[in-house]
């Protein structure tokens, strides 16, 4: 069934996609920068990194992101869901400005405006590409 108008629950899932991804990436970054440099000669060091606290929290957040992402992909197009992921960067920037009181340059405000307009463009359109419904074939077969 094609959903062109999203329900509040579906908006909440897109919000979860937007929030969990950048927070997870930030945790991964903090964890990886605390580790010594890893070379291609010792790839197993990457596996060991998974069990450090920051990386583990990052992975937990990214699992939450992936579950929301899969759910969203089951009722919306990939090109509809992806801008929601990018909108997470806006949420993190606003979080930094108004809660952490970090200054935001005009370039960043411009970036926030562009992403918001871009997400608004997609959100106003249909969430799913219309395709011939497989139910119709079954109905035709029954009629035959």
């Amino acid at each position: 069934m094609a959903h062109h108008t999203l329900t509040p629950r579906q908006y909440a899932i897109l919000g979860s996609v937007a929030l969990c991804a950048p927070l997870g990436d930030t945790c991964l970054s903090r964890g990886m920068t605390q580790l010594p440099a890893i070379s291609l000669a010792h790839p197993l060091s990457l596996i060991a990194a998974v069990f450090t606290p920051w990386i583990a929290v990052g992975i937990a957040l990214l699992i939450g992101f992936f579950a929301s992402y899969l759910t969203a992909l089951s009722w919306a197009d990939l090109t509809f869901v992806l801008p929601a992921t990018a909108f997470g960067n806006v949420i993190v920037a606003l979080f930094a400005r108004f809660w952490l009181q970090e200054p935001i340059s005009w370039q960043r405000w411009f970036g926030i405006a562009l992403i918001t307009v871009g997400v608004g463009f997609v959100a106003n359109g249909p969430s799913l590409t219309e395709r011939p419904a497989p139910v119709a074939e079954g109905v035709e077969q029954e009629q035959v």
Partner: protein
């Protein structure tokens, strides 16, 4: 003849290689995963009929899903490797911006999604926006 531009150094190509690896594996994984989820159908509908177990079973028994997850895992380890050598402020926006564009192209070619003018405009706006947000 050597290129005089300082950007074409070994470290530039190493960074480009790391970011390209993330973009290629991520795009492949996301397109395969999206194809898997479309073949499975609306998870909310499946959960309403078969419960959460039914929805999880529907996902984990789809071979296309595992192909997608394998590429996403490759992308994840490429990201970890890149974060160990490069700054998050470079890796995250560069890979996110490029992946948006490559995904729009791949979704049109392989998933036959209706990537109309509205979605192309959004992809470009978000891509440029992520670039500005990182600077």
């Amino acid at each position: 003849m050597t290129l005089p531009l300082p950007v074409f150094t070994a470290s530039f190509w190493a960074a480009a290689g790391m970011i390209s690896a993330i973009v290629v594996t991520s795009t492949t994984g996301e397109v395969l995963t999206a194809a898997a989820m479309k073949s499975i159908g609306d998870l909310d509908d499946i959960r309403a009929v078969s419960g959460m177990r039914g929805a999880i079973r529907a996902v984990v028994t789809c071979p296309l899903f595992f192909a997608g997850v394998s590429f996403l895992a490759l992308s994840f380890f490429s990201l970890l490797f890149a974060l160990n050598h490069l700054n998050l402020s470079l890796v995250a926006p560069a890979s996110a911006s490029l992946t948006l564009v490559t995904n729009a192209i791949a979704a049109k070619l392989f998933l036959h999604e209706n990537v109309d003018r509205r979605r192309w405009t959004a992809a470009v706006l978000v891509c440029v926006g992520v670039y500005f947000l990182a600077h």
